[in-house]
């Protein structure tokens, strides 16, 4: 499958937004956590600042998100991971509500109650979880609902290569296969599960080969490339819409930052990231677009637009109010 020019531009712009959102967060996250005046001996305080708690950023992993979501509508469902921003943005969740959620503000997606690993949008049919492998079963359920309702909606579930060794992977793929559910299982292979490498954790080189165990198609995409993801996911989405059942896709991608912010990454070979960054997927798509007619000026406009939207989102988050403390005991039940 080949993307149209419009789709290429959409993917490019979305990748820019994601990258900018994530890189902006790198700095915002540190505000109030450094210098370590909070306590002696402390280099950093995770619980302080504007955005406390863990923060898992997806810079470098944009292609899998945009190459998948370009095929989806608001009727299709996504279940994401603990590293969910790129999926959420590509699925069309407003940057403002996303940023505000991370600031714990009442204007956030979940009124500040979820936090960055727990983003839910009923409108955009998006959910995620801080528990590794937890999205896959729920994706089966969303797809089952679509099937029962006679819709051609698909569900995409993203998970890391580390999650592919969790029991829920196996159970969900088997369930989706026997019930012929329109679920696209997409594994982001960024080579690490925190400090544990893919080789240390995974018995085979290609998780897509595990599709054989469920009698469904399995494809691996190399090279962290949005256009290649577009192609492979496009086929899988079409299969799903046609009632042909689930697919398993693995995408080789790259984690530019630490597992979470504050990760010293002592386990990672020096220069690994700088080498990866030399082959950046956004740069590559930019070049492809420039080669095929996008002008420098158009490019600048896109960049300005994306920058502005990200800046607005963070400003909105800063300015928003915290939820009233009375909300703490609300919403346990609807």
């Amino acid at each position: 499958m080949e993307p149209t020019k419009e789709q290429l531009l959409w993917m490019y712009e979305q990748m820019l937004v994601i990258r900018d959102f994530e890189e902006t967060m790198v700095n915002v996250y540190l505000e109030g956590k450094l210098p370590p005046e909070i306590q002696e001996g402390l280099a950093f305080d995770i619980g302080s600042g504007l955005v406390p708690g863990e923060m898992h950023l997806a810079a470098g992993q944009e292609p899998v998100a945009v190459g998948s979501c370009v095929h989806l509508t608001d009727d299709d469902t996504i279940t994401g991971t603990h590293r969910p921003h790129h999926f959420a943005i590509a699925k069309g969740i407003s940057l403002n509500s996303l940023a505000a959620e991370m600031f714990g503000k009442v204007t956030g997606l979940g009124r500040g109650k979820g936090g960055h690993m727990h983003l839910f949008s009923v409108d955009k049919k998006f959910g995620c979880s801080g528990i590794i492998g937890a999205g896959m079963p729920q994706a089966c359920g969303a797809a089952l609902a679509a099937k029962k309702q006679g819709k051609d909606w698909v569900t995409v579930t993203f998970f890391g290569e580390g999650a592919a060794n969790q029991g829920s992977f196996h159970e969900s793929l088997n369930l989706a296969a026997i019930w012929n559910l329109p679920v696209i299982f997409i594994c982001e292979d960024n080579k690490y599960a925190i400090s544990v490498t893919r080789e240390e954790s995974t018995a085979i080189a290609n998780n897509a080969d595990r599709a054989i165990g469920y009698g469904i198609p399995g494809v691996r995409v190399e090279n962290n490339d949005a256009v290649e993801v577009y192609d492979v996911v496009g086929e899988a989405v079409a299969r799903g819409r046609q009632g042909k059942g689930p697919s398993l896709i693995e995408v080789s991608t790259d984690r530019y930052l630490g597992h979470f912010q504050g990760d010293a990454e002592a386990y990672r070979p020096e220069n690994e990231v700088s080498t990866l960054r030399e082959n950046d997927p956004i740069d590559r798509l930019q070049q492809q677009l420039l080669d095929s007619g996008m002008t420098e000026e158009e490019d600048s406009q896109i960049k300005e637009r994306t920058k502005a939207s990200v800046q607005e989102a963070y400003a909105f988050a800063r300015e928003s109010a915290y939820p009233d403390t009375s909300e703490a005991t609300q919403h346990v039940f609807v």
């Binding site: 979820g114 959910g127 528990i131 089966c140 029962k148 969900s172 369930l175």
Partner: protein, 336 residues
């Protein structure tokens, strides 16, 4: 409407069938719920009435299919999903307590998850350590799940209809020993009159199943019937026991318990769950927190499984699971 007695199993499946007729979004899934009708009969007859699309046998993949219930509920379906024995919760607890129970809260109330998770509890027939537990206290401990534990067919039907209509995750625990199965002895009080028409029983309303003046026995599920038998025996000696069937643990009807204790001045908790850090502690704590307004005649007593796995051998199992005689003798002691 003619009087009808139903077993608890029949009452549950009737409730499900009535709701399935009303609402196309209701469907049932679980291991052996279709062709077999549920190992404990809770879904008996549903496959014939509604077909394989709405009554679905699943593989042995509790994480996947219970997680799928959450996913389907988020999309507007109203799944009823069975965990065959509560003892198996350990293979799928994450989907239950971190997702089904929390997604609503974490979404700031935006995600609505009308799931009913049914499960079998209880011992007494020597099914040993991995098939005899109650564990409702454990689920009541973690936030986000309504906890329903009926003791008889009438309540079972009304509470099931309420469960299905609730827009929140409900865990519905049926004790095997009161389902009225043709292959397991049961306490007869559990099979009782059940109206054919649909009705619901609100959550959070404990039931005073027997009025009394000397002691309050707070209990639930099969233990209601054991308590009743004990109360009959006690009555012969002029000891008047009031029995409270909690019916739901979340929400918990604290007022009914406290009012009864205020009246009788004595509290005995009769529970089939493990003793420590659970239900019986919570009920006792309720009194401890309200000493100011209660006038207790002596210490609270708790009967429960004494923090051991359920042993297989019959004499041992009978020892660790509170029996009628235990309740009776405990209350007698309290009266001294």
């Amino acid at each position: 409407m003619a009087d009808r007695e139903l077993t608890m199993a029949a009452a549950i499946s009737e409730a499900i069938a009535q709701e399935m007729e009303n609402d196309d979004n209701v469907f049932v899934m679980g291991e052996d719920v279709a062709k077999y009708g549920g190992i404990f009969g809770a879904t008996g007859g549903l496959l014939d009435k509604f077909g394989t699309d709405r009554v679905m046998d699943t593989p042995i993949s509790e994480t996947a299919f219970i997680g799928a219930a959450t996913g389907a509920a988020a999309e507007g379906m109203r799944p009823i999903v069975e965990l065959m024995f509560v003892d198996f919760f350990g293979v799928c607890m994450d989907q239950i307590y971190n997702h089904m129970a929390k997604n609503t809260y974490m979404s700031g109330g935006n995600v609505k998850l009308p799931v009913v998770l049914t499960t079998a509890i209880g011992g007494g027939y020597n099914d040993a350590a991995q098939h005899s537990q109650c564990l409702y206290g454990l689920f009541a401990h973690v936030p986000g799940l309504k906890i329903v534990v009926p003791s008889n067919a009438y309540d079972a039907k009304g509470l099931m209809i309420e469960s299905i209509r609730d827009d929140n995750p409900v865990m519905y625990f049926f004790h095997k020993g009161i389902m009225g199965l043709p292959w397991m002895a049961y306490f007869t009080g559990s099979t009782n009159e059940v109206p054919e028409e649909s009705y619901s029983i609100p959550f959070g309303q404990a039931k005073v199943v027997r009025e009394g003046t000397d002691v309050t026995i707070v209990t639930l599920s099969q233990m209601v019937h054991k308590s009743t038998a004990a109360a009959d025996a006690l009555a012969e000696d002029g000891i008047s026991a009031e029995i409270i069937d909690l019916r739901t643990l979340v929400p918990l009807d604290r007022e009914t318990v406290l009012n009864s204790v205020r009246k009788t001045g004595r509290l005995c908790v009769a529970d089939e769950d493990y003793l420590s850090f659970g239900l019986s502690g919570e009920i006792a704590a309720l009194v401890a927190e309200n000493l100011d307004s209660t006038n207790l005649n002596g210490s609270v007593k708790r009967l429960a499984v004494p923090d051991v796995p359920i042993p297989y051998s019959r004499p041992l199992e009978q020892t660790v699971i509170p029996q009628v005689a235990h309740i009776e003798s405990t209350v007698r002691e309290m009266m001294n």
